[in-house]
Amino acid sequence: MSDENRRMWSELGLNLRAHDQLLSVLSNAYQDIYLSQQNRPESTSYFDDVMSEIHGQRIQELMREKQQGRKIVGSYCVFVPEEIVQAANATLVGLCSGADFAEEEVEKYLPRNTCSLIKSSLGFKLGRVCPFLEGSDMIVGENTCDGKKKFYETLSDLVPNMYVMDLPQMKSQQGRQMLRSEFYRFLEAMQDLTGFQVDATALRNGIRMVNEKRKAIHRLQSLRTADPAPISGLDALLANQIFLYEDPRRFAREVHKICDELEQRIERGEGVFPANAPRILVSGCPMAVPNWKVPHIVESAGAVIVGEESCVGERGNRNTTEEEGESLEELMEAVVDRYFGIDCAIFTPNPDRTEHILDMAKRYRADGVIHYGLQFCQPYLMESFGVEKSLEDKGIPVLRLETDYSQEDSGQLQTRVEAFLELLK
């Protein structure tokens, strides 16, 4: 680690010792899970660079942006409209929530039966090991599930800059109206934060920039429909994970380079796994860095993951925002429309999600679907029963998994995944 990084982390108020441990665990996990993969496309070295500098170079860049007057906004959810953040001269980053940290401290604030993602979010704050969070000028929470709602109450006592966005729970006219008014309130809050008045041009530019990175990942995803799949599910997941905090322009450029290489691979009929490897679609709860547990088990067992129906995946990135509007109002309507289409399990009823899973299973030619549920995540665990039935009615085998961030159930998960792959043959 460079002295420059250490100085920066120290200025951000990180606990350097704990942070060193975290980085060392992360680096080992990356080594074991990512660098041990066979037949990786060469251009995925971009991911290696991003991951090795996850708390280094990227944070340096954000700090430079701050010095130049931009603001940094941290978020825990794909409902926070990045277009508006960009338009207001700020940068949006996803905050750390993918690993257990400071668990004993966390239990002083949250009940044990809280999902890993929420516990992790608080653990990174209490342990002072997330430079994205410590460097944020505003932290945006959103009222999705009950766990997150109450967690943001706890977090607002621990950070000086918490903003909570309310969200509808039904896809009704009133629901859309509510999202619209919340997005306008957010626009005001962003303008207050940055002192920058957003006009149609600024919002259009914001929309275009975010659309460009979405188009890059859409291209990557469409290439995974090829058989054999040209890229592993682990690498594609990583693309979706860094999508949430990497510089958007660089992300789009580098992912297009990877896609160029994947197209050549497809032309040569070259895959990352043999052509007969079972193709798996993963659906359910989001997997934040470094939560690679289940994909690693699946791909180590010889299957390839071809799609993620997840917030860190197609549910989060699938639609672009209409760029054609003339006025700020028209463009704001387009932003509202785009986000109102997200089929998160907090909505009731939520038939669009099931439709999307069926559509993805077909498009990516999946042999089976693994439903990934985080223990205690009520919305997704409850939906998993209906999802399972809808898929089985179409003759698509399903394996429902429920787990957390610990490794203690790896053996059992491995047995279940392997048995599932055996029945697909």
């Binding site: 085998p397 159930d409 053996g411 059992q412 279940r416 048995a419 055996e422 029945l423």
Partner: protein, 248 residues
Amino acid sequence: MRAAGIDIGSRSVKLVVLRDGKIIHSAIADTGYDPQGVARGLLDQAAWDYVLATGYGRTMAQLHFQAPTVTEIKAHARGVRHSCTDCRTVLDIGGQDTKAISLTNGGKVTKFEMNDRCAAGTGKFLEIMASNLGFPLEDFGAQALRAEEMQQISSMCTVFAESEVTSAIAKGADRREIAKGLHMSVVRRATAMLKRVSLTSEVAFTGGVARNACLLHLLREELQLEILVPDNPDMTGALGAALLAAEA
């Protein structure tokens, strides 16, 4: 050719060797703290040409004996069909896992359920409870079966069930009745799993716990179905692995 199947479970290691579809050798040993050593011991004492490994220790076998592997689920499904050719539903209760498996007419696995990380409703649960009540494990089922009534044990978690047992003992409840209630809690859990994979025809009950007479009795009562137990229910996984090895 002699085809061997080795099932490295949490409680015991089982070996079956087949020649022309006939069992020519079988052996079982406690897993203890050295599954690799125990497995090697069993394999060294038998004559065989190739081996297929299953059970939670299968990956270790792959590493140390270069044995190919299948999961316990596939192995049990295959093993059951050896003696019960029409069975389409399998319940396997072993040392640390409980599995409900549904099969096609042809014997292929179509769906399965398996307990996750905790030992609730498994052989380990019964072992701990037998010891708490002062019964030898081999006698636990027979003693429970002799109770006329049963104490309701609502918790399936080993830790919580222990507190329930403690308070039942403190109230002066008959220990056989407590034992019967504990068996019933395992049956309820197994029944729920079986219903999730669908119950089509007669059920085969495998794994070491299938030797428990009380569990078998309660399961028959609860499901109102024919429950078949193979001659050596704890050898089913090893037998299945040997059959799969012979067919490979």
